[in-house]
Symmetry: C2
Subunit: 218 residues, 2 copies
């Protein structure tokens, strides 16, 4: 009986330690991969940041490749889900435009490295997304286009394809985070001023997008 109890305790302890360690690894890996990319990341650095050693990394995730995929999938999800679910919602078009900019830039402010990381890795391995993309809900372009066309019919908006609209919104929202190092260097912008710029864009972007849509602006 005593033996059984000890066995249980040990088992549970190990399980807790396991999930704990696994989480520490994932957190460390997320940091390092986002900072250096797949090619630039070093298993040693991930181990150090997680407070363990390389061997244990391979015990949990058999290879660098496997560990990377896990992180990559998670980040792709985080990047795409908000866009897709917002655009697929039944809200009125103008509401979507307003809420998307604010909520998305909030997410990016909390995770500023996501866009550049994702774009870079996607560029060096375009097939990687194909599989992941199919696991997710996909964007309902038809719905969005229908909403646009309704506004056009009412004489409120000029015609535009949903793709153009999304590219415009993504460009204006995401690019500053991708270009942050350049903006800092070329214009000498300190962090504080960058944050102000982002804050201000949560309002400026919807305004710009809508001004571009309005039929009475030539």
């Amino acid at each position: 009986m005593r033996k059984l109890t000890n066995w249980l305790i040990s088992k549970i302890t190990k399980m807790e330690k396991a999930t704990d360690t696994e989480q520490k690894i994932l957190n460390a890996a997320k940091l390092v991969f986002q900072e250096k990319g797949m090619a630039g990341a070093r298993m040693q650095e991930i181990a150090d940041k997680a407070g363990i050693n390389k061997a244990l990394l391979h015990y949990y995730f058999r290879s660098k490749e496997k560990l990377f995929r896990k992180i990559f999938e998670e980040i792709v999800q985080k990047f795409l889900t908000p866009i897709i679910s917002e655009m697929n919602s039944e809200k009125p078009l103008e509401v979507k435009i307003w809420t998307f900019a604010e909520s998305y830039m909030n997410m990016l402010t909390a995770n500023p490295h996501i866009p550049l990381f994702m774009m870079h890795e996607l560029h060096s391995n375009p097939k990687a997304l194909q599989e992941i993309a199919h696991k997710n809900i996909s964007l309902n372009g038809a719905l969005l286009q229908k909403q646009i066309n309704e506004e056009v019919a009412k004489g409120n908006f000029k015609p535009i394809s949903f793709l153009e609209l999304i590219v415009n919104m993504l460009s204006l929202s995401v690019f500053p985070f991708v270009a942050k190092p350049m903006l800092k260097a070329v214009f000498g912008i300190p962090d504080e001023k960058f944050n102000q710029l982002i804050e201000q864009r949560k309002i400026a972007i919807p305004k710009l997008i809508i001004a571009g849509l309005k039929a009475d602006c030539n």
Copy 2:
């Protein structure tokens, strides 16, 4: 006399070969570095693409680091010079906006990998640009701001900082090239449709920017 002639011919031949080989290396390195980034690039691949062997790479450029810097500087120049010289020109503001979008996207169409490469490398080594930036002419923000303020005073434009304006123009023009792999995967866009999108944006971007500036659009 015959000997001297031969020596000269050999010397000249070697010189020609030298600049020729150097150029082949630089071209190959440009391709590989842009495709894989500094960390992902392999000297072997550069040598193969240049039609020579690794040893010769090190003969011309002592290290991967040195070769990379050369390429990186050239690309930064190519990315920044058009923006800066266009914005520093004395043309009227609206003309700048129109010509920038078209000429810049033409350059990017011919060199589609430049933005992502530059952003990625700048992210992993922010100090690198500091030195390069100082070698170049810098953007004259005061001139641009003066032009904006004049239009505001005339009642044509709403107030905006030159930084916001530039970030908007850069975002809309550059982001599609950075996001191309994602757009292809998520929206299933083939190359041909992507090119159409870019072509169409040469006109759509200036229109959008100016609609956002016009005082009579709310």
